[in-house]
């Protein structure tokens, strides 16, 4: 089976700086591919090479088997792109930008879907773009992208300005797009979002993909963070099975530790033996994940 997106040992330098140091990335048709890494790792540079904005200094990059640099127009006919930092034209309204981008994409759009997207994302399309917040500008770009019915969506940190409610709307449309057999390359540094939507994940650091594979196989990398407040002595927990990196803060009387997803139930059962004042559980951030990665 041929890949939708295929990057082989792609390199890019800016002056003396190695932005990409041999990227390998493969996206299968129908797949939602999470592309995660900290700021400055090279996510945007990779995407700009895929779109033919940058010319790679080495390696091979292709989308739909078209060369990213030479045949970018052919690629652009089948994709839709949402930049990381959405900048729009101040004197056009959101609605006008959505229409313009559809016109320039030369794809027939469905009015029904447009109205549904605008409703669900709750965007006032009659406002001029200069009055939009970052989140609203992002909504304009996302609506255009989902509306385009492109075969591949390339989304660069699309939810960084959206509120949690809108993130959920975004995830619904991502899944809808997947059900239609389309593919998405989703760059992000919010791991929970990637977990909810993506099938496959590639982790990039310092211009290299350091881990790539199906999310289920990478599970071992994502632990849960626990913060437990209790007046009782929690000291025993530190030796319990599944509890990792236990530490206790005397001042706040709280214990902090991590738990592998497979052990969460066991640890919760353990905690039920104590009288707790407060319990916080949240997935690890990407930064934690990297720490884990280097611990191993």
């Amino acid at each position: 089976m041929s890949y939708l997106v295929k990057m082989e040992n792609v390199k890019k330098t800016f002056g003396n700086f190695n932005a990409l140091d041999g990227i390998n990335l493969n996206v299968n048709p129908g797949e939602i591919h999470g592309f995660i890494g900290p700021n400055g790792a090279g996510k945007t540079t990779t995407i700009r090479i895929l779109l033919g904005f940058y010319k790679a200094n080495g390696g091979k990059a292709s989308v739909f088997d078209y060369d990213c640099w030479k045949d970018s127009i052919k690629i652009h006919q089948k994709i839709s792109y949402v930049p990381g930092d959405v900048m729009l034209w101040g004197n056009l309204t959101g609605g006008e930008v959505i229409d313009m981008l559809s016109n320039l994409g030369r794809r027939k759009i469905s009015e029904k879907k447009k109205n549904r997207l605008i409703d669900n994302f709750n965007l006032d399309i009659n406002k001029k773009c200069r009055n939009y917040s970052k989140g609203n500008r992002q909504k304009v770009a996302l609506i255009s992208a989902f509306l385009s019915d492109a075969e591949l969506l390339i989304l660069d940190e699309p939810t960084s300005g959206l509120d949690p409610l809108m993130e959920q709307v975004f995830q619904e449309f991502v899944l809808e797009t997947k059900q239609q057999g389309k593919s998405i390359l989703l760059s992000s540094h919010i791991l929970s979002e990637v977990e909810k939507t993506c099938d496959v994940v590639s982790i990039i650091k310092e211009g290299k993909v350091i881990e790539s594979g199906e999310l289920s196989k990478l599970r071992h990398l994502t632990r849960m963070n626990f913060i437990v407040h209790s007046k009782e002595n929690l000291g025993k927990l530190s030796d319990s099975k599944g509890v990792i990196n236990y530490s206790f803060d005397e001042q706040t009387k709280s214990a902090t530790f991590q738990v592998e997803p497979s052990n969460v139930n066991a640890v919760l059962a353990l905690l039920s033996n104590y009288k707790l004042d407060n319990l916080e559980v949240y997935p690890q951030t990407l930064e934690d994940l990297f720490l884990n990665y280097y611990e191993n």
């Binding site: 800016f14 700009r48 779109l51 904005f53 940058y54 010319k55 127009i73 052919k74 652009h76 006919q77 994709i79 839709s80 792109y81 930049p83 930092d85 900048m87 729009l88 034209w89 004197n91 056009l92 309204t93 609605g95 006008e96 930008v97 229409d99 313009m100 981008l101 016109n103 320039l104 994409g105 030369r106 009659n126 200069r130 009055n131 770009a141 255009s144």
Partner: protein, 535 residues
């Protein structure tokens, strides 16, 4: 009003002054320098009374009255009268514009909310910033009076006395204070910065036009315009103070109104809500050209109007050129080359050349649009569509070239309309148009040069402006400075023949056009190969 509304006004004043004291100082000094140099140069231009009398008659020409205002004291046209007739109006307008800009820069609108929020999160009263601005504007305009009185009196010109100098300064100061305060009131009403600026500048423009109408017909209409009213002071002639007092009273009322309104206002919003009130037709953009035109629409229209007005203004004085240039060696050197054709024609050639040089500015501003779109990352949405770089490149280039052509046509139209009765005997319309268009290749040359830089490395665009500056300087001042022909010929503007007095220089035109085409093509070849958005 409660004291807490104004808490920490002093700190606000300091905060703004710390950032802008140099700007304010430079502004006051520029106005001072302009006024003093004008007075000094009038003294040199028209040393004796008989000459001034001639000029006074010229100044009564309706188009000059429309531009500069009525002539007061023409029976005894002193240097003071010349100053108030020829320099006052333009200075009033400049002071008004500066004050409006300064006020708009410092008030809160919905566009600069993040900064406003940060600023207002400090223990600063709701109206403190407004009051601080009022104080600063007051100080600024007071300094203007002080400077002008000292500056004008130091000149020691008989007709420019103490009383008149104070009045002259006060007129300018009140113009600034009045329009500044008006902007403050408008800012309380509307939250949109552009709308506030539009209304304020619109009112300055309206006041200027209203007084032009009133002055030409010599009727009461001028009194309805604050600018016209201020001019009625007849400074250095009769020195009436009533108009200053009226404007001062209105200004105080405006300031109180602005302060009163400010205490009820939400941060970054206006008392009049326009949401859903202003309905406009949906703009439909189907191509990159459509986008290029849409984002520059208002700038393009303004430039076209400016070119018509400039053409008309330059043309309107052709009839009185003899009087202007007769005894003025400097201006004659500037406007008249060799003197083998009529003075009107020589002047026309110079104006054509000047307008071609000026016409390059909007041309470059327009073509650099493609780089502005890239630099601001808006181009990402467009280039990610199935649109080739070739199409994108020429979607900006071709409209810019057409726009530049229209600019020259607008100028030519305005000039011919107002000057044809004086020049049509020596030059036909078609020859005039050929003369105007003979400079068009030079404009294309500069458009292509900037495309070359945009293609290779946009940061080098500054070089383009440098070359433009050097060429313009050589062309405009080179001859007056007595530089050699070889140096002057570096500038392409000097490579263009003065058609029809000289033969049309096809060879040079082909060279300039070839350069333009080569720059253009090389620019595109680089543009196609370079990384976009890599700054």
């Amino acid at each position: 009003m409660k004291k807490q509304y104004f808490a920490n006004t002093g700190n606000c004043v300091q905060f703004i002054l710390r950032q802008y004291k140099f700007l304010l100082l430079i502004f006051v000094l520029s106005i001072l320098a302009f006024t003093i140099f004008s007075a000094q140069s009038y003294l040199e231009l028209y040393p004796d009374a008989i000459e001034r009398q001639l000029i006074a008659e010229t100044m009564k020409n309706p188009s000059l009255v429309a531009m500069l205002g009525p002539v007061y004291g023409s029976e005894n046209y002193t240097i003071g009268a010349v100053l108030s007739n020829q320099s006052l109006l333009i200075t009033i307008v400049v002071v008004a514009i500066f004050n409006v800009l300064f006020v708009v820069k410092h008030l809160d609108y919905n566009e600069n909310m993040s900064i406003s929020e940060l600023f207002n999160s400090f223990p600063i009263g709701r109206s403190a910033k407004l009051l601080a601005l009022i104080i600063i504007i007051f100080i600024l305009n007071f300094l203007l009076i002080l400077g002008l009185v000292i500056g004008l009196l130091v000149l020691g010109i008989d007709s420019i006395d103490f009383n008149g100098s104070i009045l002259y300064g006060s007129i300018l100061a009140l113009s600034g204070f009045f329009f500044g305060s008006l902007t403050m009131v408008i800012s309380q009403l509307f939250s949109n910065k552009r709308l506030v600026m539009g209304l304020s500048f619109g009112y300055i423009g309206f006041s200027y036009l209203l007084r032009a109408v009133g002055d030409i017909q010599n009727n009461v209409v001028s009194y309805l315009s604050p600018i016209g009213l201020l001019q009625k002071s007849q400074v250095f002639v009769k020195n009436y103070w009533y108009s200053c007092i009226i404007i001062l009273v209105i200004t105080i009322i405006l300031i109180l109104l602005a302060l009163f309104l400010s205490k009820e206002k939400d941060l970054g919003s206006g008392l009049i809500k326009l949401n859903g009130f202003v309905k406009r037709k949906n703009i439909i953009i189907k191509s990159p050209v459509g986008l290029a035109l849409q984002i520059q629409k208002s700038t393009l229209i303004v430039w076209l109007i400016v070119m018509i007005i400039l053409g008309f203004s330059y043309g309107s004085i052709v009839g009185d050129l003899g009087v202007y240039l007769e005894d003025n060696n400097f201006l004659r050197d500037f406007f008249v080359n060799s003197g083998d054709s009529s003075i009107e024609l020589e002047y026309t050639f110079v104006v054509i050349k000047l307008m071609a040089i000026l016409g390059i500015v909007p041309a470059l501003l327009s073509i650099i649009g493609i780089w502005r779109e890239e630099k601001s990352f808006r181009l990402e949405h467009i280039i990610a569509k199935p649109i080739s770089r070739l199409k994108l490149f020429y979607s900006f280039t071709i409209p810019s070239c057409i726009f530049s052509l229209l600019n020259q046509l607008c100028f030519a139209g305005g000039y011919w309309y107002s000057a044809n009765e004086y020049i049509s005997s020596t030059i036909s319309l078609s020859d005039f148009m050929v003369a105007v268009m003979s400079y068009f290749p030079a404009i294309l040359f500069f458009i292509s040069l900037s495309l070359l830089f945009i293609g290779i490395k946009p940061n080098l665009l500054i070089v383009n402006w440098l070359i433009y500056g050097v060429f313009s300087f050589l062309t405009i001042f080179g001859q007056a400075l007595g530089w050699s022909e070889d140096v002057l010929n570096i500038s392409i503007f000097n490579q263009i023949a003065r058609y029809p007095v000289e033969d049309f220089n096809f060879q040079n035109m082909y060279i300039i056009l070839s350069c333009a085409i080569i720059f253009n093509v090389i620019g595109f070849l680089f543009y196609r190969k370079r990384d976009l958005f890599n700054q």
